[in-house]
């Protein structure tokens, strides 16, 4: 037996993510985006909503790194602020969906069979709405706003989390160590809390990291359609909407709206993949 320093699972996972080259790149991007979102109000060169009619539709310059839009607002500043909007939607939505989905999934997997069937039926049905169509229906009913977007995202992604949590719970429920815990007199709530939840949360965390790009894209998409956040708010989707209208005047708006979406998505996906490989080494293929 080699003498190892005892490692808990979480420190092992962190180490594995850092060893993965793409995971490292992902982590750096994620950190940058989060930093942008946190410090945007202090690092923007201009007030992102300040109009300056004389300077409208300018090309990139030292003063305006990515030029200005049709109202003379600094595109670069709006792009930085966009990170804040994106994460303001994505983080609560994904986190909320994860928590609710995990609870419901564990109830479905651990509770009585009829409840499981009922929950699964509802989840499968929600998943059978094409996401954007479902989002549009909700927006049509309750009107566009930042909260609507969060609501839609939560509704559409809860079933995914629930399903994964349920599968995990069911396979763990009959695992020997859970049987042993039962034999050792552990109560059901405690089994859920100390045996099932910790072994489920890792998989869901991976799903969460992979899901953030989808949410960022959905928020941007709805804002692009004019059905997301309200107009003066500098969302990446809103930049794209303006850019689409002015496609023949200035390409910078589309670049400023599109590029951060792609970079953010890449960062979270790389990070998520490394996390998945670390959490579930079985899935790790090659590399």
């Amino acid at each position: 037996m080699t003498v190892l320093k005892s490692q808990s699972r979480s420190s092992q996972i962190l180490r594995a993510v850092l060893r993965d080259r793409l995971g490292m790149v992902g982590l750096v991007i994620v950190t940058l985006v989060v930093a942008c979102a946190l410090f945007a109000p202090w690092i923007v060169p201009h007030d992102p909503n300040a109009m300056n009619i004389q300077d409208r539709l300018q090309g990139p310059s030292l003063q305006y790194l990515l030029g200005t839009d049709q109202l003379g607002r600094d595109i670069f500043s709006r792009m930085l602020m966009g990170a804040q909007i994106a994460l303001k939607v994505a983080l609560p939505a994904v986190f909320g969906a994860m928590v609710i989905g995990m609870l419901l999934g564990m109830i479905a997997g651990f509770g009585p069979e009829w409840l499981d069937s009922l929950l699964m039926l509802v989840f499968d049905t929600i998943r059978s709405f094409p996401t954007v169509m479902f989002a549009l229906a909700v927006v049509a009913l309750v009107g566009p706003s930042l909260n609507t977007v969060i609501l839609v995202v939560m509704l559409t992604s809860i079933p995914t989390y629930a399903r994964v949590a349920r599968t995990q719970t069911m396979s763990l429920r009959s695992a020997d160590f859970v049987m042993a815990a039962r034999a050792a007199g552990t109560s059901s709530p405690r089994i859920l809390a100390i045996h099932l939840a910790p072994n489920t949360v890792g998989v869901l965390a991976v799903l969460m990291a992979m899901d953030i790009p989808t949410v960022v894209a959905l928020e941007a998409g709805l804002s692009f359609l004019g059905l997301g956040v309200k107009p003066p708010t500098p969302s990446w989707g809103a930049l794209l909407k303006d850019g689409y209208a002015l496609i023949r005047q200035t390409p910078w708006l589309i670049v400023a709206g599109g590029l951060p979406i792609i970079v953010t998505t890449l960062g979270f996906t790389f990070f998520g993949e490394a996390l998945r490989d670390a959490v579930d080494p079985k899935v790790k293929k090659g590399r």
Partner: protein, 619 residues
């Protein structure tokens, strides 16, 4: 079978083989310096425990090692292709290897359930090699495939050709795999643990089949196994491996009668042999080589009844049809009764699917029995409310088969052992950790392991932790469900001895659930043989083993490969035996089990649902 024509040149000759595997932590040697020969017409067994490198030499000979990250660093793999000089397969390119594989050398593997492609028919897969190496057209290949299926004694070969693998049982699939391997009449057949995943009666059939086919075709067999019993049954010569090295080589009798090396002696001492308890009535720990023997006295136990199980029935619903209705029941446990005395061990023995594990879980109420009575030390387990049940469980604990799955990977070992103590006592009692430390001492694990996580321990060590956890609440009964089946034989012996020692010291009773007759013989006071959900024979161990009455008990005993080359008893009936289904339609009323007394405390099931003659019919 035993005389090997030594004069003839070897068909394959492995010389100074060294193989390394690339891992994340750099290259690791699989075998260091291994040499041996295989002669025409002989069966050479390579035996070793996990990590011994026993499969590496055969995978190298096939050059399949290239596909699993292995690199042949040194050595020659000389193979007699029939040409003037033998070819060194270590230097051969993959094109040449493709002509040899499946043609001159072929291979059977351990896991028949996954060895066949799930989306192609048996017929298609059987003809692949024939078309490739013999250039047969579809029609001729089909005819030859049918012949092969007959040769491996598969009933209704015509129908099998159009079936898919998932429609067949494990034993049947292994026969198909053997047929595929024999298709091109290879000079050398490599069998890598071909019976490890199979039930003992099916194993006996497959071993006999391989032996008989060897005689019919004259092919040499390189047989890789961890099981000394299997070695004794079929080997002509034996190579013993340990941690990548060849420890010893010799004719099978020499290896078993006069092993030269300490490792071989220790290995052989650790193997329980069916029949070696003859003349005794009580279990006693095994005498291991190089172990300080503390207690080797027989374990008497008491005559006071601890557990009384009566008419236990467990059924699982089978759902099917359009609306997933309840269409049938699996009669997993059908009217089972037995008693266990304080300080004694009762074993339930039987093959997979016989209901022995289900019975064990049912008496703990880990799953819900249909009906029946379970009385533990005067307390009716079935009548308990959920809350009372939790409290009652401190008296019954469990040890599981897979030491990897029975510990939570995320929790420190000390906490896992402490769990029952916390549940049944004061959760914050500071004395708990002291008790855990004594438990670690008790099962012979260093206290330093308390702060470790499961993945940092070996399988045997983990099983030790599982035993410590089971001992923690000082239970009266421990249900050991295949508790030593996943362990290497030397570790198995240590764990068995530990369990017997604990029984002698603490007076704990065991319900020992196992498929291994030899292990059961070693540890039991009482034995119940299970078949299709019922106990077919129940009685004192000595009576059941020395004077078996039920035909199934006899079949089971006969199928066990005994680790003694002078007690060869390969069965001659090679016909495929289907096992009847325990699935019955809803509303099926099973007749109650009826027993006839054939000796003191020795009971025989009289309901006739097993018939040795009947069982040999085809399905």
């Amino acid at each position: 079978m035993l005389d090997v024509t030594r004069s003839s040149p070897p068909i394959a000759s492995i010389r100074g083989l060294q193989v390394a595997f690339c891992t994340e932590d750099g290259p690791v040697l699989g075998v260091k310096d291994v040499s041996f020969d295989i002669h025409p017409g002989e069966t050479l067994c390579v035996v070793g425990e996990s990590g011994s490198g026993k499969s590496v030499s055969s995978m190298s000979l096939m050059r399949l090692i290239d596909y699993s990250g292995g690199i042949i660093q040194k050595g020659e793999l000389l193979f007699d292709t029939g040409a003037a000089a033998p070819v060194d397969l270590a230097q051969a390119d993959q094109a040449l290897m493709r002509q040899i594989r499946g043609n001159a050398i072929s291979m059977i593997f351990q896991e028949p359930m996954t060895a066949l492609n799930p989306v192609f028919t048996i017929g298609h897969q059987l003809t692949i090699g024939l078309k490739l190496h013999k250039g047969l057209n579809s029609q001729d290949a089909r005819a030859r495939a049918l012949e092969l299926l007959q040769q491996v004694r598969i009933p209704e070969p015509d129908r099998r050709m159009t079936q898919y693998p998932h429609e067949m049982s494990g034993g049947m699939r292994q026969r198909v795999v053997i047929a595929m391997a024999l298709a091109c009449e290879p000079k050398l057949l490599i069998a890598d643990e071909p019976t490890t995943a199979l039930d003992v009666t099916v194993q006996a059939e497959i071993l006999s089949l391989i032996n008989q086919l060897k005689a019919e075709t004259g092919t040499a067999v390189l047989f890789i196994t961890h099981d000394m019993g299997v070695v004794a049954q079929i080997a002509d010569r034996v190579v013993v491996m340990y941690r990548g090295d060849k420890i010893e080589e010799g004719p099978v009798e020499a290896i078993f009668d006069a092993p030269q090396q300490a490792y071989t002696r220790a290995l052989l001492a650790a193997v329980p042999r069916l029949g070696e308890m003859q003349g005794t009535t009580l279990p006693e720990p095994m005498k291991l080589v190089g172990e300080a023997q503390s207690t080797s006295a027989p374990i008497t136990g008491t005559d006071d009844v601890l557990l009384k199980v009566e008419n236990l029935k467990v059924r699982f619903a089978v759902k099917g049809g359009l609306l997933r209705r309840h269409v049938a029941n699996v009669h997993a446990v059908e009217d089972v009764s037995f008693t266990i005395n304080k300080g004694q061990t009762l074993s339930l023995v039987g093959e997979s699917g016989c209901g022995k594990s289900t019975a064990g879980r049912a008496i703990m109420r880990l799953l819900h029995p249909q009906s029946g009575q379970v009385i533990l030390d005067g307390q009716d387990m079935m009548a308990l409310s959920k809350r009372q049940l939790r409290a009652a469980r401190r008296d019954v604990q469990m040890i599981f088969q897979d030491p990897f799955a029975s510990l939570n990977p995320q929790i420190q070992l000390a906490e896992q052992v402490a769990e029952p103590l916390r549940n049944f006592g004061n959760r914050r009692d500071p004395a708990i950790m002291d008790r855990v430390a004594t438990l670690f001492d008790r099962v012979g694990l260093p206290r330093a392991f308390m702060r470790r996580y499961p993945h940092e321990l070996s399988g045997g060590q983990r099983q030790g932790v599982a035993i410590a956890r089971a001992l923690a609440p000082a239970p009266k009964l421990i249900v050991a469900d295949e508790a030593v089946s996943a362990l290497d034989v030397s570790v198995q012996a240590q764990v068995l001895n530990l369990m017997m020692e604990l029984q002698a010291d603490l007076g704990v009773s065991f319900l020992f659930i196992s498929h291994d007759m030899a292990v059961v013989e070693r540890v039991s006071h009482q034995v119940g043989v299970m078949y299709l959900g019922r106990i077919v024979e129940l009685g004192p161990r000595a009576a059941v083993f020395e004077n078996p009455h039920h035909p199934y008990t006899r079949a089971l005993m006969q199928a066990v490969p005994i680790a003694d080359p002078r007690k060869r008893h390969l069965i001659d009936s090679l016909a495929f035996r289907p096992i009847p289904s325990p699935i019955k339609p809803v509303g099926h009323t099973a007749e109650p089990s009826q027993y006839q007394q054939v000796g003191p405390d020795h009971w025989l099931l009289t309901n006739n649902h097993y018939d040795a003659a009947d069982a040999s019919q085809t399905n």
